[in-house]
Structure formats: structure tokens, C-alpha cells
């Protein structure tokens, strides 16, 4: 178990470093000559040389990467913005909590709705409530969240005025206005995962329900609730690991949702940086997202191994 843990963590770190290098090289080779972008087309060769020297762009890529990594390790310092010259880390410090809050709430919402829905669906297997839940799941998996968000803006928000049609009110603007401004984005982001996780809960429970130990429990006259507890323990194994992975995926979709609702989170920072061709900022943001993604995948693996020891030993 410990060996597996160490191995997984080591591999994740190696992956992060490797993928980070790819990102570093790709953004650098694609960005063309940042000096021209920043200084303008009329820049003299001396100015360009000076610029490249100041930003360390004239050194080998590996050396640049190493320097950058040391900056990251040394207090989340993601280099300096090409455009403003300000350090990138503090620039993002205001945007990051917003994205994390929205993803976090959407995730909790998804789990809290998906589990009861899946349990209901499995306990009334084949009945109307099950059919309804399954149709909801297929539709929820298929209808893109950003369109649901657009519809929510168009109708409940604009037509009926129940919610603000976008924008973000921070906590300092009052608890109620803050919550009002994030309800729709969180719903639009979470609904896909409600569908995914409820489907998995249902199929997990149905599968476990046909196994011998549940039949034995039923034959012994155990109550429904007690059987459910026993069944859930095993049925939830895949749900937990997919849930952990979903957390990483949600940051990707949050990009689109934040754009749609004009929320000043990481997505806004990324798209602004892209517009400005400020690729050190782009690099930093994509690296942070990749880090979150890898950590949540690692967490999913760990949970899986913990809940399902057979799997861990089998490998």
C-alpha cells in the first residue's frame, strides 16, 4: 500500500514535470517573437536583444524551465508578465479563489443531488421514478452546460429577473447578492456531473444488489436501510474515484461557464492573457489547471486503492 502510494506520487510528479515542459516548449515555440509583440514592429535588433536578455529568453529552454520551476517551488512565483512586468503569481491570487469557489460549490451540489437520485433510481428499479431518473441522466450528460447556462440567463434571469444575468458580486458585496450571483453558474457547471454520478451510483447499486451477500442479507431479514448501507459501501467505489476525477474536469468546463457569466475568475485571466499574447501568464494558468487535474486524478487513484484493496494488490 505504501509502496503503491509512493509510486503513484512519484509518477504524478514526473508527469507534471514532463507535461509542464511540453507546455513550456509549446507556448514558447508558438508564441513567435514576444519581443516584437511587446515592443512593437519598429523595435531595433538591440532592443529585441535587450528584451530577450532581460526576460532570460536567450538562454536554453531547459535552463529557462528549470529557473521557472524553481520560481514556482519558491512561493508560487510563476515568472513575470511580459506585458506589465508584474509577477504572475500575485496577479492570479485574486482570480483563483473565485474559480475554486464556483467549482467547489458545483461539485458539492453535484454529489449531494446525484447520490440520492442514484439511490432512488436503483431502489425503484424499473418503476416510473427510475425511468424518469435515467432519462434525466442521459439528457444531463448530453446537453452542454454552457447552453443550459445561456437558457438560465435568458429566461429566469432576464425574463423574470430572479437572478442577475451575469457578473459576480464578491462576499464583501453582501452574502445574499453573492450567492445570487453564483447560483446559476454553479448549477450550469454541476448538472453534467449530477447526471454522470447518479448514473454510476445507480448502476453500481444494481450490480451489487444482485450479488450473493446482499441476497443473504435480504434472506436474513435485514431491513431495507441496513441492506442499503451494506450495498452502498461497495457500490460507491467507482463513484468515489470518478467523482474525484470529475473535480479536475470541472475546471475545464468552468472556463466556458465563467466566460458565459462574465465571472472574473481564472478563465477571464486566461482569455485576457491570450488576447494580450502574454504567454507567461497563459503558461502559468494552464500549469495551475494541469496541476489541479493531476492532483485530482492522483486522489482518485488513491481512493480507489484504499476502497478496493484487491485492485491494489492485483497490480
Amino acid at each position: 500500500m505504501l509502496r503503491l502510494l509512493a509510486e503513484r506520487i512519484l509518477f504524478s510528479v514526473a508527469t507534471l514535470l514532463g507535461v509542464g515542459l511540453c507546455l513550456f516548449v509549446l507556448t514558447r515555440s508558438m508564441a513567435g517573437t514576444p519581443a516584437l509583440t511587446v515592443l512593437g514592429m519598429e523595435a531595433t535588433p538591440q532592443q529585441i536583444q535587450q528584451f530577450n536578455h532581460d526576460h532570460g529568453l536567450d538562454r536554453p529552454v531547459i535552463a529557462q524551465y528549470w529557473h521557472w520551476l524553481r520560481g514556482v517551488a519558491d512561493g508560487l512565483n510563476f515568472g513575470h508578465s511580459l506585458l506589465s512586468g508584474r509577477p504572475v503569481g500575485p496577479m492570479l491570487r485574486a482570480d483563483m479563489p473565485i474559480t475554486f469557489e464556483i467549482v467547489g460549490i458545483a461539485f458539492v451540489f453535484a454529489v449531494l443531488v446525484a447520490l440520492p437520485l442514484g439511490i432512488l433510481s436503483a431502489s425503484f428499479q424499473g418503476r416510473i421514478i427510475d425511468h424518469v431518473a435515467r432519462i434525466v441522466a442521459v439528457v444531463g450528460v448530453s446537453v452542454p452546460g454552457f447552453w443550459i447556462g445561456l437558457m438560465l440567463i435568458r429566461f429566469p434571469a432576464v425574463q423574470f429577473g430572479w437572478f442577475p444575468p451575469g457578473g459576480f458580486t464578491p462576499w464583501s458585496g453582501g452574502v445574499w447578492p453573492h450567492l445570487q450571483s453564483i447560483v446559476l453558474p454553479c448549477f450550469a457547471l454541476g448538472i453534467y456531473y449530477v447526471a454522470i454520478l447518479s448514473r454510476m451510483t445507480r448502476s453500481g447499486l444494481v450490480e451489487v444488489g444482485s450479488q450473493d451477500y446482499i441476497r443473504t442479507a435480504r434472506a436474513m431479514g435485514l431491513g431495507r436501510g441496513l441492506i442499503l448501507v451494506h450495498a452502498l459501501k461497495n457500490a460507491l467505489v467507482p463513484v468515489v474515484s470518478v467523482g474525484a476525477m470529475s473535480f479536475g474536469y470541472m475546471f475545464g468546463w468552468a472556463l466556458i461557464i465563467e466566460y458565459l457569466f462574465n465571472i472574473p475568475g481564472m478563465s477571464n485571466a486566461l482569455l485576457t492573457a491570450i488576447d494580450n499574447r502574454d504567454y507567461t501568464v497563459v503558461q502559468a494558468i494552464v500549469f495551475i489547471f494541469t496541476l489541479v487535474f493531476i492532483v485530482s486524478n492522483l486522489l482518485a487513484d488513491m481512493l480507489n486503492a484504499y476502497l478496493n484493496p484487491k485492485l491494489a494488490h492485483g497490480q
Binding site: L23, T27, V141, S142, V143, R154, M245, G248, L255, Y259
Partner: protein
């Protein structure tokens, strides 16, 4: 799975027995594919024809689903949008499938050697790349202008589909590898070897067809994801570029009319995306019971 089960299962009677979800899904997919293929003939108007006097007409009359801000027919743009949407999502799957089959087969072939280790570890690393964010960032840095290769112009959608295809590869490699490992160990492969058939022709002629079931199922589900990814990236303006009609960019345009009464602008493209995705998801789920009874393909997440 017996030899050629993959193709036999696709025959109509068995497809009909796959249950209502596969049939409904297949029907929807068929309609969308027909619309995409025959777009020039069935679209009632030119999707690009601007006519200011017809701008923002409500649905009904000559313009069945209304017109947009430039007076272009929404229905015609939807039909042409199916083309670009399917092109991106299908070609992405083709790219992912090709890469996945090659790497997966090679890895399965060199089982328990360093080659398998390297391939599978690399794939695991690629799988830890968050698709949407990398797509947005790389397209953003690369710019949305078309790439010209030997006089042929490749629009931005080509960059998008190559990127999606490459990021699909790990999933398909893993499935190919897992299924092929079981097949290669099977007795019929030994028999073919004794017959003196070369390894390559056993792999391509016998093993690969038997592995296609789970790959087809996963591919179908990945098409569904591709449609959403294309729409999302086009929605934020980094995918299909105007004036080419795309469902995602139609939704992006509709944002300007969110406060006025033109409800048809955001509603219809979204319905088109949703229906298409529902179609591919239902079809994939239905095919799974038919072609992939052991569930080597994974559910949809992403």
C-alpha cells in the same frame, strides 16, 4: 468473442434488438449525418447570404427558424453547422483511433517489455492533460488564422480537431491494449502462428477485428464529447471562425441579443447540439451492450 463478432453484431436484426435507446440514438445520428452530407441541397437558403432587410425575423414564413442579426437563415446555418460539427468530432475520433490502435497494438504485442511500459506510461501522462484548457490556450497562442500548406488552406477547425484527436489517444490506446492482450493470448492466435501466418497479418487480420467492438463504442461516445468541445471552443471564439456557420459561434452571436426578445437565436443552436450529443450517447450506450459485453470501454466523463 468469436471471430468477426464485431461485424456480425452490426447487422440489422441484432441492431434492432439492441433496445429503444440504440434505435432512437441511431435515428438521431442518421438525421444529423444526412443533414451534414446533403447540406448544400437541403438547406433552404444560403447560410452566408447577408440581407439586412431580413435581419432578426422571427420563426415562420420563408425563414422557418427565423433569421439572425445579418438576416441569415437560422435553419440553413444549423444544417451547415452540422457539417463542421461532425467533421471536427468525427475526424478527431479517426485521428485518436488511428494513433490509439497503433500504439495499443504495439504495446500489447510487446507485453511485459520496456516498450509496453514506455508506451503506457506516456499515454498516462498525456491523459493527465486537461483537454479543454490546453485546446483553448494552444489555439489562443497559435492564433485562429488558417494555416496554408502548399496552397491548401486549413481553417482553425483543423487545428482544433488534430488537438482533440491527439488528446483522445490515451483512452483508445488503453482500450486497444487491454482487449488486445486478451486476444493475443487466445488459442486461435497460437493456431494461426502454427499455420505460419506472419505476426503483422495476425495482428491486423485477426486480432484487430476482434478488438473493434469496444473501440467503436468508445469512439461513438467520444464523438459526442467532440461535438460539445467544438461548440464550447467556438463559443469563446477560438474554434470555427466566422463566417463559417457553427453551432457554438451561433450561440456566441446570440449573446448580444440576450436582453431582447429574439429567443430563437440562443434556443435552436443549443437544441441542435443537445440532440446530436444525445443521439451519439444513446447510440454508444446501446452499442455497448451489443459490441462490448465485458465493458472495456468506459462511460462518458470529461
Amino acid at each position: 468473442m468469436s471471430a468477426a463478432a464485431g461485424t456480425r453484431a452490426l447487422r440489422l436484426p441484432r441492431l434492432l434488438s439492441a433496445g429503444p435507446s440504440a434505435l432512437i440514438g441511431g435515428g438521431i445520428v442518421l438525421v444529423v449525418v444526412l443533414a451534414a452530407v446533403f447540406a448544400p441541397w437541403i438547406a433552404p437558403h444560403d447560410p452566408l447570404a447577408v440581407s439586412i432587410e431580413n435581419s432578426l425575423l422571427p420563426p415562420g414564413g420563408t425563414f422557418l427558424l427565423g433569421t439572425d442579426q445579418a438576416g441569415r437563415d437560422v435553419l440553413s446555418r444549423l444544417i451547415w453547422g452540422a457539417r463542421i460539427s461532425l467533421m471536427v468530432s468525427l475526424l478527431a475520433v479517426v485521428i485518436g483511433m488511428t494513433c490509439g490502435i497503433v500504439t495499443g497494438l504495439v504495446a500489447a504485442c510487446y507485453r511485459q517489455t520496456w516498450i509496453e511500459q514506455v508506451i503506457m506510461r506516456c499515454m498516462e501522462a498525456v491523459a493527465s492533460i486537461p483537454l479543454l484548457i490546453w485546446a483553448v490556450a494552444l489555439l489562443g497562442i497559435l492564433g485562429v488564422e488558417p494555416i496554408v500548406v502548399r496552397g491548401l488552406s486549413f481553417g482553425n477547425e483543423w487545428k482544433l480537431l488534430v488537438l482533440i484527436g491527439l488528446l483522445y489517444t490515451p483512452t483508445l490506446t488503453r482500450i486497444m491494449h487491454d482487449v488486445a492482450v486478451g486476444e493475443i493470448a487466445a488459442d486461435y492466435v497460437k493456431a494461426r502462428r502454427i499455420q505460419g501466418v506472419s505476426t503483422l497479418s495476425i495482428l491486423l487480420g485477426d486480432v484487430l477485428p476482434n478488438c473493434m467492438g469496444p473501440l467503436v463504442v468508445q469512439g461513438t461516445l467520444l464523438v459526442a464529447i467532440g461535438v460539445v468541445v467544438e461548440a464550447s471552443v467556438s463559443f469563446i471564439g477560438l474554434g470555427v471562425q466566422p463566417p463559417t456557420p457553427s453551432w457554438g459561434s451561433m450561440l456566441a452571436d446570440s449573446r448580444n441579443y440576450i436582453f431582447s426578445s429574439e429567443w430563437w437565436l440562443p434556443v435552436f443552436p443549443g437544441l441542435a447540439i443537445s440532440l446530436t450529443v444525445i443521439g451519439f450517447n444513446l447510440l454508444g450506450d446501446g452499442l455497448r451492450d451489443l459490441l462490448d459485453p465485458r465493458h472495456a470501454s468506459r462511460g462518458i466523463a470529461g
